[in-house]
């Protein structure tokens, strides 16, 4: 049902920059485990992982250049999972 499809070519330089950021974030993810954040340890790990996922989705998977509709669908899924995680932690934080 969809008619107009176009390709978008991302520069190699952009991919390399994103790769560097991803590697840096991986390093931060490991380093942050040395800090005792108590119940927020998981929050921090999920936050860092989410930022990395968003970068991959936007740049490597071309979501940034695609129709907004797909962005909304992916964002809805993220929101859903975020709600599930928040509700789960309502048990752990208040137990």
């Amino acid at each position: 049902m969809e008619k107009d499809q176009h390709t978008h070519i991302v520069k190699y330089k952009t991919y390399v920059y994103v790769l560097i950021v991803l590697l840096f974030m991986t390093f931060v993810s490991v380093a942050v485990t040395e800090i005792d954040l108590g119940p927020y340890t998981v929050t921090m790990a999920l936050l860092l992982a989410s930022i990395k996922s968003v970068l991959v989705l936007l740049i490597f998977m071309h979501l940034k250049f695609d129709k907004k509709f797909y962005g909304i669908m992916v964002a809805s899924v993220f929101l859903l999972l975020a709600c599930v995680i928040v509700i789960t932690f309502m048990d752990y934080l208040y137990r």
Binding site: L80, L81, V84, M90, D91, L93, Y94
Partner: protein, 536 residues
């Protein structure tokens, strides 16, 4: 619904000769209709086995103490009954059989978006089924954990857990692949003119279901994998002795398995939404409300898993949050019920077998839904948790909901699928016996649960004897009805009268093609101009 009525001259999908012959023409076919039937036949075999296991359990419970099996056998029977019924029949059931067969036809497409992936889904299903069922015959004895595989028992039991868990893990891939296939099919392959608000309600129900399959199934997949890792590599996820948390397992399991209830029930609601307007000869009341409530159930259904865990030791905050959310999910379900009933108001009803199944569905689903309200309230749940009341509620919802819709669907679409008409008298007799047996079987279990009989016990005190006798006799009656229903359907495949293209005077696209349909369904893709239920 469509301007073009397809007068077919092509051979039907049943007679079509492709690259392969005999059995191979079926198990290597990428035709969505043949794949739907492959699922149907596989499930029929598995259902027969699982139903007989259920009957054996009810015979065991006809008297206190050991009757026909010992406690350990009883444990393995309810485990196998649950695994087979849930993972192999009820979860894939309606989407895999009727979704595969009718989704493309109902939206005016020649097949699903990815036919090879569709066939792969069936193969994964079969492989998963073999792995899960192999647990019964190899290793250290059949699993005895129940279908929920609750930790920490699931990795401490000496029984053969790994194949059962691995099988359920593999089956998840089949479910995800089917979900992706259906979502893409509905987004990309609707016939010209079929806007979202002109799409029939069964495809809409499959749309909501598919999103749950895609988003929730990976969670249980990972959870089951964690059990495997915990059992084999002693990694502490759920075992307190290893630093794990058993309640985390329950969270993860139910984050999938509660939405899975909606994987079971949403397509059932879709079937009922097709049957009722066809036999009421009337446009369905509140089409948009039913669509919105379908999506609302799919969405809110994600957030109510904790009501399975009210006695697990969760925090008070989580308890009342889940309880409130559970009451919210009842609203869209009730909207559907009211819409179906309103459709019947002042309708010119043609009472046929599928319609009777739909009416029975309304009754049993209401009983199941209202008893769910009792369980959703914290105070009553504490009393009724893990009693026979829960088993009764669950069977009224899942068997009463999905099972009745499944039989309603097969009686509704049978002439289209096979080009034959079944014997209506025997079909109605079978339904009457089945419905009577069903209620005699499960209603006493509400009473048993309220008076304190725990679930999953093979023995009980003398006070529970009377209701258990009634319940067991109900099981025998229900199985008798099932035998009549299935025999009638199987026999009619060969001896039934030839069916017309539109025996029920339906309005959706599947009734515009031949019975049985040709390989590609439509000689020419139809252009849709009208509402799917345009009776007025």
């Amino acid at each position: 619904m469509s301007e073009a009525v397809n007068q077919h001259t092509e051979v039907s999908y049943l007679e079509y000769k492709g690259r392969f012959k005999g059995l191979f023409a079926w198990i290597f076919s990428t035709d969505h209709k043949r794949i739907g039937l492959l699922y149907l036949y596989s499930m029929l075999v598995l259902f027969s086995v699982a139903a007989l296991l259920g009957l054996a359990m009810k015979i065991e419970l006809i008297a206190p103490g050991k009757t026909i099996m010992d406690a350990q056998t009883y444990n393995s029977f309810f485990t196998l009954h649950g695994i087979t019924m849930i993972f192999l029949i009820v979860v894939p059931g309606l989407p895999a059989v009727f979704g595969n067969f009718f989704l493309p036809i109902m939206i005016g497409a020649k097949d699903v978006a990815f036919p090879k992936l569709n066939l792969l889904s069936w193969w994964i299903y079969i492989i998963g089924a073999f792995i899960a069922l192999s647990a019964q015959f190899i290793g250290d004895g059949p699993p005895d954990t129940g279908w929920t595989f609750y930790a920490p028992y699931s990795f401490r039991t000496g029984t053969n857990m790994l194949p059962a868990v691995t099988g359920a893990f593999v089956l998840g891939f089949s479910s995800i692949a089917t979900g992706i296939n259906f979502i893409v099919t509905m987004h990309r392959m609707r016939a010209p003119g079929m806007t979202w608000m002109k799409m029939p309600l069964f495809p809409w129900a499959l749309y909501g279901t598919s999103w749950i399959q895609v988003l929730a199934t990976p969670i249980v997949g990972v959870t089951l994998l964690m059990i495997v890792l915990e059992r084999t590599m002693q990694i502490g996820f759920f075992d307190p002795a290893l630093g794990g948390d058993p309640i985390l397992y329950q969270h993860l399991f139910w984050i999938y398995s509660h939405p899975a209830v909606y994987i079971m029930i949403l397509p059932a609601m879709g079937v009922i939404s097709e049957i009722i307007p066809t036999f009421a000869r009337k446009t369905i009341f509140g089409y948009k409300a039913i669509v919105v409530s379908t999506l609302a159930i799919a969405f809110v259904g994600y957030f109510v898993w904790g009501h399975h865990m009210f006695t697990s030791g969760m925090s008070g905050t989580a308890l009342y949050t889940f309880s409130i959310l559970t009451f919210f999910v009842a609203i869209p379900s009730a909207i559907k019920i009211f819409n179906w009933v309103a459709t019947l108001h002042k309708a010119s009803i043609d009472i046929q077998t599928p319609f009777l199944w739909a009416l029975c569905f309304l009754f049993v689903f209401m009983v199941g839904g209202l008893s769910g309200m009792v369980l959703g309230a914290l105070s009553t749940n504490v009393h009724l948790h893990d009693t026979a009341f829960v088993v009764a509620h669950f069977h009224f919802i899942v068997f009463g909901g999905t099972g009745y819709a499944f039989f309603g669907a097969i009686h509704y679409w049978y002439p289209k699928m096979f080009g034959k008409m079944y014997d209506k008298s025997w079909a109605n007799i079978g339904l009457a016996i089945f419905f009577t047996g069903f209620n005699i079987l499960y209603l006493p279990m509400f009473y048993l649960g309220m008076t304190g009989m725990p679930r999953r016990y093979y023995d009980y005190v003398d006070e529970f004897h009377g209701p258990n006798i009634v319940s067991s006799l109900g099981a025998l009656l229900m199985i008798s009805g099932l035998i009549i229903i299935i025999t009638n359907l199987v026999r009619s495949g060969k001896h039934g009268e030839t069916a017309e293209a539109d025996p029920w005077k339906g309005k959706t696209l599947e009734w515009t093609v031949a019975s049985p349909p040709s390989l590609e369904n439509f000689e020419e893709i139809p252009t849709v101009t009208k509402h799917p239920y345009g009776y007025e």
